[in-house]
Symmetry: C2
Subunit: 179 residues, 2 copies
């Protein structure tokens, strides 16, 4: 592993650990993302200096997030892992999984609590706040769902727009202003 790749792998390991993602799993994924060719578990263990079993568990975790593809090479008994070829696909998967695991349960909890009648002024206020949280989260979620619908090609356009993004959103603002 070259120093450049190593530095990136380390950084994403650190970042992962701030996000409830195991540091070593973060490193493994960064390595896969940066690798042009699929890797075996042994290669990953070797590159990062982790035990083979740790890599096995990490890959299992990444599979549960649907972030890696498993493939076989004809005449080779080993399993090869790779990350999607498009970064945008990775981001979309992350958003979707986060929603499934964190947002949806939260919305459903909030809805449940909003069903019951408040028994005091205190609960009335708390419910008000829960309602605000619910509506805000729901809206932001819808927003990201729309964004997720963008395909890679469309995204290229947005990326090229770059600093003009603000203008596009200003137009949106004006549209909204009329409502």
């Amino acid at each position: 592993m070259t120093p450049m790749i190593q530095a990136c792998v380390m950084h994403f390991g650190e970042m992962g650990s701030r996000w409830g993602i195991n540091r070593t799993v973060g490193q493994m994924y960064a390595l896969l993302v940066l690798s042009q060719t699929p890797l075996t578990a042994d290669q990953i263990a070797e590159s990062l200096g982790f035990s083979r079993s740790n890599v096995s568990m990490g890959l299992k975790e990444l599979q549960s997030w649907e972030l890696v593809k498993l493939q076989h090479i004809p005449g080779d008994r080993k399993e090869y892992y790779s990350a999607p070829a498009e970064i945008w696909d990775i981001a979309k998967t992350l958003m979707e999984q986060r929603r499934k695991r964190e947002i949806d349960p939260t919305l459903s909890t909030l809805r449940g609590l909003l069903m019951t009648d408040p028994v005091s002024e205190e609960e009335k206020y708390a419910q008000q706040r829960m309602r605000e949280m619910h509506d805000l989260i729901e809206m932001l979620t819808k927003w990201t769902t729309e964004i997720q619908r963008l395909d890679s090609a469309r995204l290229q356009v947005l990326l090229k727009l770059g600093n003009n993004l603000g203008k596009v959103l200003d137009i949106k603002d004006k549209l909204l202003g009329k409502n």
Copy 2:
């Protein structure tokens, strides 16, 4: 603490711990958000059954995230804590802090790595991926920055639009399609 509030507090404690946020800190903040009146550290410790010192550390953490306001009540020596009155303000602060702590360092690391010349095909590919990551993260960040500029009033409009949000974004899509 009523069962309804308790349930919400517990839920956000759990969720927090999936996000690299200490479970007890998450509970403390949920309690503050749901409380109509400011609370003292002692009240929080009492309500949640934590030690006074744990609450002290948790509040310090929340202050470092700029998520709580500290206030004094005349003739009372204790310190009272409260969350912003607007949920949207809380969300904006969270987005801003996350950006400062996680996104900005990541972008700057990636930029640094993209400055150096690739010494092999392997590094060339890795850099390509880093470039894609960088540009995507930068774009999404700009996006959220624009969203953050919305004030509460404007947000109300968006919230009321509700299911029509998709349509608004479709209009945006069409605008982009022309580019």
